[in-house]
C-alpha cells in the first residue's frame, strides 16, 4: 500500500514539478507585439524618425492625447483661439454644433472646457516628442557631433514652438525640458513665464540650423530667426526684434533657398497649389491622398467650409467672418481704412435674412479693400472658382451665424480630389498648408518694432510694402462687382497713429489666420477692441454676442485646464496656479 503510494506519487510529483519549473522560466516571457523596442530607435535613423514624429504634431492632429472634441480643438491655425476669440469670425454653423467653442468666443470659457484641455495636451505631446529626440540622441552611438547638433537644433525649434503656442493661450505654463519625463516622475512643475526658455531654444536653433535644408519642410536658420523675432515682440524686446527683423528682411530665405518675398498674388498664400512660396517663412505641411485617410490633411480646419447648396463641402459651415471684420475693409477716399473705429457705424450691405431664391444686388459703391473678397465669401461675389457666392444656401444657419463664409483655408473647385483627400468623409480635408509665419507677417511685425523704437518712416515703408501688392488690380477678385480701392500711407504723423495703423493693417492682412486674439493680448487692448465689437455683433444680428463682456485682467488668457490643475496635485496642492479671474 505505502509502496503503491510512493510508486504513484514520486513520478506524478516529479512530472508536476517538472512542468511547473521547466516552463516557468520562459513560458511567461512573452515578447511584445506590434511596437518598436526603444533600442530600435536609439540610433541615427531612429532619431531622425522621432524628429519627423515631432514635426508630425505641428498639424494639430495625430496625437492620441486628448481627442474627445476632434482635431478642430487643436488645429494648427488656432482658428478658435486666435480668430474666433479675436473677433475675426464667429463660431458659425448651428449654435448647438461644437458648442464648447461658444464660451471661448465669449471670453468666459470655464477651466473645465474640454477644448482647452485637449489643446494643452496636444501641444505638450508635441513638446515631449521634441524632447524624445534630445533624449534618444544621447543614447545613439552612430551619430556624429554634427548630426546631434542638427537634430538638437530642429528639435529645440519645435519644442519652442509647442511651448510658445501654450504661452500665447495660457500665459504662464510649465516648461518641459528633455530631463522631464513620465518614467522619471519629475514632470510636475509650476507654470512660469516660459518665454525666456522659448527664446533660448530659438536662439540655439538660429545659431545652429543650416540656411537651407534638403527637405524644404524642415525649419532652417531663417525660420528660427523669424520665430525668435516674433517671440521678442511678445516679450516687448523691440530693440532686439527690430535688429533681427532688419537682418531677416535683408538676408532671409526659405529652407528651399528662396529669398523671402511677398507673392505677387495675395491669394497664392492660401492656395494649396502655390504653397511653400517665398512668402512662406514657416508652414505646417499638409498632405492628402497619402494613404492615411486624410490624417495628414489640414484637419483642424475641416469644419470651416461653406455648407450645402452645391458649395465646397457638406460640412460644416463653421468659422463665419464677423460683421465687424467685413466693415473693417471699408476704406476712405484715399483707400485707407477707418482707423478711428467709425467703420462699424453702419454695416456693409449684406444678405442677412434674404433667401437665396430672392434677388439680391451686392454693394458696388462702397469702396472696400480688395483683400476682403480673398478673406470672406459674400453673396454676389465670385468665390474662388466656385461661382458667385449664393448667400443663404451656402450657410447652415444664417439667422444664428451671419451671412459670411471664410475663404483662406479653402480650395478651388478644380482641386477636388488632388488637393483634397478623396478618402475622407468630407472634401474639407485639404492639402492647404497653414502658414505659421509668412513674410507679410514679418514685415508688419518689423513695422511695429520700428514704430516702437526705431523709425516711423521705416515702419510706414514696411506697411506700404504689404499694401502695395493689393494696389495691382490683377490681384483683385476677377469678375467682382465690388468697388475696390486701396491706397498707401503717405505719413505716420506720430507713434500713436503708427501703432493704430500697423495694428489695423495686421487685422486686414492676417484676418482669419489665427493671430488676432494673441495680438490684442500682446498689445493690451482686448477690452477696448472687443467689447465694442461684441456690442456691434449683437446689434448686427449675431445673437450669441449679446451681453458678452471681455474682462480686462482675466480674458487676456484662457484658464488653465481644470483637468491639468487636478492632475498636477502634489501633496494636496496643485503645482499649477490658475490664471487671474477664473
Amino acid at each position: 500500500m505505502n509502496k503503491n503510494i510512493l510508486k504513484f506519487f514520486i513520478p506524478v510529483a516529479f512530472c508536476s514539478l517538472f512542468i511547473v519549473y521547466a516552463c516557468k522560466k520562459n513560458y511567461l516571457d512573452v515578447p511584445n507585439t506590434g511596437a518598436l523596442d526603444p533600442g530600435l530607435v536609439a540610433n541615427k535613423i531612429g532619431v531622425a524618425g522621432v524628429l519627423v514624429g515631432a514635426y508630425a504634431l505641428l498639424d494639430g492632429e495625430g496625437s492620441s492625447a486628448g481627442t474627445n472634441n476632434g482635431p478642430w480643438a487643436t488645429s494648427s491655425s488656432n482658428w478658435v483661439y486666435g480668430s474666433v476669440a479675436g473677433g475675426d469670425a464667429h463660431k458659425g454653423s448651428d449654435p448647438g454644433d461644437q458648442n464648447l467653442i461658444t464660451p471661448i468666443e465669449q471670453w468666459n470659457a470655464t477651466p473645465a472646457n474640454g477644448y482647452l484641455d485637449q489643446f494643452w495636451q496636444q501641444r505638450y505631446d508635441g513638446a515631449q516628442r521634441a524632447n524624445d529626440v534630445l533624449r534618444l540622441m544621447r543614447l545613439a552611438t552612430d551619430m556624429t557631433p554634427a548630426d546631434t547638433l542638427e537634430a538638437a537644433a530642429e528639435a529645440r525649434f519645435l519644442r519652442a514652438h509647442y511651448h510658445f503656442e501654450l504661452a500665447k493661450a495660457f500665459n504662464k505654463v510649465p516648461w518641459v525640458s528633455e530631463d522631464q519625463m513620465y518614467t522619471a516622475g519629475n514632470f510636475l512643475t509650476p507654470n512660469i513665464d516660459v518665454l525666456p526658455a522659448v527664446e533660448a531654444d530659438l536662439a540655439f536653433a538660429y545659431a545652429n540650423l543650416p540656411e537651407t535644408q534638403a527637405q524644404g519642410g524642415r525649419a532652417n536658420k531663417w525660420a528660427a530667426a523669424c520665430y525668435l523675432a516674433k517671440v521678442y515682440m511678445f516679450e516687448k524686446k523691440f530693440n532686439e526684434a527690430k535688429d533681427l527683423f532688419t537682418t531677416i528682411i535683408a538676408n532671409g530665405q526659405t529652407a528651399r533657398g528662396q529669398k523671402y518675398a511677398l507673392t505677387v498674388q495675395f491669394e497664392d498664400n492660401f492656395n494649396p497649389a502655390m504653397k511653400n512660396s517665398p512668402e512662406s517663412v514657416f508652414a505646417v505641411q499638409m498632405s492628402v491622398n497619402d494613404g492615411t485617410g486624410g490624417a495628414n490633411a489640414n484637419q483642424g480646419d475641416a469644419l470651416n467650409f461653406p455648407y450645402g447648396g452645391g458649395a465646397q463641402t457638406d460640412c460644416c459651415g463653421f468659422f463665419q467672418p464677423s460683421f465687424s471684420l467685413a466693415n473693417s475693409y471699408k476704406v476712405d477716399a484715399s483707400g485707407l481704412p477707418f482707423l478711428d473705429g467709425s467703420y462699424n457705424n453702419t454695416d456693409l450691405k449684406n444678405d442677412m435674412g434674404i433667401a437665396s431664391a430672392t434677388a439680391y444686388t451686392p454693394d458696388n459703391t462702397t469702396p472696400v479693400d480688395p483683400r476682403i473678397d480673398w478673406t470672406m465669401g459674400r453673396r454676389g461675389i465670385p468665390f474662388l472658382d466656385w461661382g458667385v457666392m449664393p448667400g443663404q444656401s451656402w450657410i447652415r444657419n444664417q439667422a444664428a451665424a451671419g451671412p459670411y463664409v471664410s475663404i483662406k483655408h479653402t480650395f478651388y473647385k478644380s482641386q477636388v480630389g488632388t488637393y483634397t483627400d478623396a478618402s475622407a468623409w468630407s472634401n474639407g480635408f485639404t492639402a492647404n498648408n497653414y502658414n505659421l509665419i509668412r513674410f507679410a507677417d514679418i514685415l508688419l511685425m518689423a513695422a511695429e518694432a520700428e514704430a516702437e523704437v526705431g523709425s516711423l518712416a521705416t515702419a510706414m515703408t514696411y506697411v506700404n510694402m504689404v499694401r502695395q501688392r493689393m494696389v495691382n488690380t490683377a490681384t483683385w477678385v476677377p469678375g467682382s462687382p465690388a468697388n475696390y480701392k486701396i491706397g498707401l500711407y503717405t505719413s505716420f504723423p506720430d507713434q500713436a497713429y503708427a501703432r493704430t495703423a500697423i495694428r489695423f493693417e495686421r487685422k486686414l492682412e492676417l484676418a482669419t489666420e489665427g493671430h488676432r486674439f494673441f495680438d490684442l493680448t500682446r498689445w493690451g487692448i482686448g477690452a477696448a477692441e472687443l467689447n465694442p465689437y461684441a456690442a456691434h455683433e449683437a446689434t448686427a444680428g449675431y445673437g450669441s454676442m449679446s451681453g458678452v463682456t471681455y474682462t480686462t485682467g482675466k480674458s487676456e488668457y484662457l484658464p488653465i485646464p481644470q483637468n491639468q490643475i487636478d492632475l498636477s496635485n502634489v501633496d494636496g496642492a496643485s503645482v499649477l496656479t490658475q490664471n487671474p479671474g477664473y
Partner: protein, 1090 residues
Amino acid sequence: MLAKLTARGMALTLSVLLFSTVVFGQKTVTGRVTGPDSQPIVGATISIKGTTVATVTSASGDFSISVPSGRNSIVVSSVGFDEQEITIGNATTIAVSMKERISNLNEIVVTGYTAQKKKEITGAVSVVSVKDLKSIPTGTAEQMLQGQASGVTIIGSGSPGEGSNVFIRGITTFGNVAPLVIVDGVQSAPGDLSTLRDLSANDIESVQVLKDAQAAIYGARGSTGVIIVTTKRGRGKNTITYDGYYGTQRVLPGNPWHKATPQQMADLLFLAAFNTGQVKADTAAVCPGCVVSQQYGTGMTPVLPDYIRAGGLSGVSASNPATDLSLYNQDYAKGPIYLIVPANKTGTDWFHALFKPAPIQSHTLTASGGSDKSAYLFSFNYFNQQGTLLNTYLKRYAARINTLFNVKNNVRVGENLYAFYKDNPRIGNNQEGNAVNNTGWEQPIIPLYNSGGGFGGTAGSELGNSSSPYANQVRAKDNKNFDWQIQGNVFAEVDFLKHFTAKTLFGGNLDNNYGFYHNYRSYENAENSASNGYGEYASYHSNWNFTNTLSYSNIFAKDHSVKVLVGYEALQYRARQLYGNRINYFSDDPNYLNLNTGSNTGQSNGNDVNQLYSIHGTAVLAKIDYAYKDKYLVGLNGRRDGNSVFGANSRYGNFGSVSVGWVASEEEFMKNIAFINNLKIRGSYGILGSISNVPASNQFTTYNSGGGNSYYDVGLSGTPTLGFYAASYGNASTSWEENEILDIGFDATVLKNKLDISFDWYKKKINGLLFRDQAAATAGVGATLPFVNIGDMQNTGVDVSATYRGKVNNDLSFSIGANFGTYKNTIVKIPGAAGFFETAGTHNTGNQVRNQTGHPVGAFYGYHIIGIYQNADDVAKSPTETDAAPGRFKYQDVDNNGKIDDNDRMFYGNPNPDFTLGINLSVQYKRFDFSMVMYGSFGNDVLNYTRYFQDFWPQFQNAKSGALLTDSWIPADRSLPRAQWTAVNPNAKYPIVENNSYFSTNGVLNDFYNENGSYFRCKQMMIGYNFNPSLLKKAGVEKARLYFQAANLFTITKYTGLDPEVAGSASTFGVDYGNYPPSKTLNVGVSLTF
C-alpha cells in the same frame, strides 16, 4: 512552447494511466430504481460512497455496479428526488424507491475543480434553476441569468446578440468587471462572456455562481465572481427530444420619443426666434417683428411648405418650377445632386419606420442516451431572432457532441464539443447618433422617400443634422458579421488506490469573427459622405487551459471527512485582427465591391494593435475540505498564479481563502426546534486577484509609427516621411489586483422543508486596484500610460434568496422564489494627483461621469438645477452665474461663494441600484404549468442623454419633444428688455426655448437629464400543458408539452426614455445614448420526447 508543454502533459497522463491498472477485490451489485408511482427512474446516479465509482440507471431503471472491497454503501441520486444512502451489507440486489425532493440540500454543486453537495458547501454559491433559465427566450445566455441569482446584476439590451453587462456583487474594478466563465472546465479569456453568450440554452445542465472568497481557487480570475456552466450528458435510455418555439416580438407603441408634429416643430422654430429676438428689425420696411424662416416663410406664424427641398432651395411651394421632377438627380456619377423632397405635413413616424414586429424562433433537436459504459449527447440548435430594428438579427446554427466512456471501472475519458456559426449584424448599441438615436432626431416633416424615389433626409434648411436612420439601415442589409467558434475539451479521469482520482483536461475556445460592410455615398442628409467604400475584417481569438488535478477523498474514524485536491494549470490567450478598407468604387453594387475593386488612393489596412497579443499564465492550486460529523465544515484553498502580462519581478501572485460552516441543525439542542429543518451558518474570507484588463503590452516601453500619427511631409513631395513616436510607457512592477472578500451567511430550510432561505452579508475590498495611470500632459500623454496598482474600492452588500414550495393537494402545487441583492460601492482611493477620473465624454457637454474617492463608481457629475430663473430680481438675488437670465436654469451654489463655477459641480446621480430583485413563480395544476419571472432594479439613476437632443432647441433643430411648446418657460411680454421678462407659466418644466446654448441651459452638463431608472419587469410568463402520455404512445411520442409564453410583457417604470435598462462599461453605465429597447415577445412552443 505549446508542443513542449503538451508533451509534458502527455507524460503526466501516461504516468497516471500506468499506475491506474492496479485492481482490488470487488463485488457486483445490481438493482432497480423506481419513483413514487413505481415507474422506473432513468438516469439516476448510483455511486459508491467514499469513492468516485459511479454508474447510471438504464431505461428500465436497472443498474449494475462494482463495489470495491471495504465499501459498504451506495448513494443514489437523481434530479428532482431526494438522495438516498443505502447500506449494501450482504445484498447483491437492491431495490431503491426514491422520494420526490422537497429540499435542495443534496443538490450537487460544482464549486471549482470539484463538486460538492449543497449541504457541504461553506461558500456563497447561487445555483440557478436551469428550467427558469431556459424559459427566457433570448439568444444570449447571460440575459437568461437576469433575476435568477441574488447578487448577480445583468444589464442587457433588445439588440439581438448584443452582449450584456454582468456584475457579480456590484462593480469592483474600473477595468474588466466580467466574471470568469467556466463551461465544462474551460475558462474564458479575461473579460470574455462570449463562451456563455452563445450557448444553446437546451444544452445547459446546471449553472452555478461562485460569489465569495471560495473563488480564490481561481486566484487571479476569481475576484469578479465565477459562473460555472456544466452542459448535459446523455443518461438512461436513448431518447430524441425536440424543443422549439416560434413567436413575435412587438415594438413600443405610440410616440415613444414624445416627438412634436411638423406643425409643432415649425411653431417651436418661431418660438425660439421670438425668444431669441432673431426677428426682422422694427425699422425694416416689410414685416417688422417677423421671423425669417427658410422653411416656413417670413411672418408671425409659420406655414408648412409643400416641399422642404428642391435643388438648392428650402421651403418651396408646389408651384415652384424648381420642383420639376425632370431636374431630379441623386446619382453623383450623373452630375450635381438635385433633390426634390416633399414635406410630410402629417408627420413621418420614424420610430415605427425602423422598428417593426419581428419573428423569433428556436429549434433544438437532442439525441442522448447512456449506459454504465458510455453516454452520449448530440444536439443541434437553430436560433433565429430578427431584430425589431430593421436589418438587425441573430441567426445561429449550433451543434454539440458530449460523450463519456467508462473505459474501465476506474478510467473515464470523454469530451465536450460545441461548435456554432452565427450571422449577427448589429448597430453600435447605446452610442450617440446610432440608428435608435436617429429615429428620435429625424424631423417628422421629412418623408421616408423623396419625390424621385430616393431617401428623404435632413438635406435642406432647418431640418437638423441627423442622418436618415431608415436609409442607413436599408443600406446596411448587405453588411455581414459572421462568427464561428469551437469550444470544448477532452478529459480523462482515473480512480486509483481507493481514494485517489487524477484528472487531466485540455480545453479551449477558438473564435473566428469576420465580416464586411459597405459605406454608401449619401445625398439625403445635412452632412453627407463624399465617398463610397467597402471594408472587410477578420479576427481570431483563442484561449485554452490545460488542467491537471489529483484529488483524494477519505473518511477517517467515521466522522472525519477529508477531501484534498492539488492541481497544476497552464493557460494561454491569443488574438489577431486584420482589416482592410477601400473607397471610391465605380459602382455601389454590393456584388461588385471587394477589396480589389476600389480606388488606389484612400485604402487602409492593418492589424488592430489592441488585438495582437499572446498572454500566458500558469498556476498551481490546492484545496482541502474537511467535515466533522457533517456538522463542522472547513474549507481551505490556495493558488499561485503567474501571468505574462506582468513584469518578471511581479509576475506571481498568491491567493487563497478559508471558509467555515456550522450545520447548527445537526446539534442535539437544535433538533427539538421543529420548524427548522436545516440551518447552516457559514463564513469565508480570502484574497482573490484580477488582472483586470491589463494588456499584454503593459510592461513594455515602446515606440511606433503611424501614417497619421507620426508621418510628416518634411520633403514637400506630397508623400509624408516615416516618423516615430513614443507609443507606450511600460511599468514592470505592475502586478495583480487584490480583492479581500469577507462573507458571512446562512442557509436554512424551515417550515417542514417548504422554505429555503439563503442569506449573505459581504464586504469586498480591492487593494491595488489596477488602473490606467493618468498624468498631467507635461508627461507627454500621447504615449499610452501603463496600468498601475494604486486604486482602492470597496463594496458591501447583502444577498438574500428564498424559495417557498407549497402543495395544496395532489393536483395543485406551487413554488415562489425571490432573490434580492444590494450593494454599496465606494471608491476608496483613486491614484494620481486628482483623486478622480472622468469618463463618458461627449463633445457637447464634456465628461458626464466622475469616479472619485468617497463616491460610488460611475456617479454622474455636474451642476444641480434648483429651478428656473423667473425674473430679474431672481437673477440679482442669486449667486453670479454665467448667462443667467429669466427662463434659464438656476444652479446650486455648492460652495456658497456667491459664484457658480466649476467648483459648484456635484455628484447628482448614481447608476448603481439600491437593490435588484428577481421573483420566480411557478404553479403546477394537473397537467398545466404556469411560471413567471419578474426582475427589477430599484433606486438607480439613468442619465438620459437623449434628452439633450430632444429637449433643447439649439441642438441642430433635430426633432424635439412636443411638450416644449407648452411646458417651456414662455415670456409674458417680449417687448420688455430681456432682463425684465417674466413667464406666463412660471412652473414650466423646461427652460426657455432659444437659438443658442448657454452655460445656464445645456452648455454644460447639469442634472436635467437625470432620471429615476428604477423598473420592474415581467421578464416572462408562461402557461404550458403536458399531454397525457398514454394518449401520446400511439404516435410514438413519450412526452409532449405545449406552451404559450410572453416575455417582457410589461415594465413598470417612471423613466421617460425608450427603456430604463441601459448598459455601458465598468466605470460608465446607465448613460442612455440611444439604447435598443427590449421587445415584448409572444411565443408558442412545444417540447416533444420520443
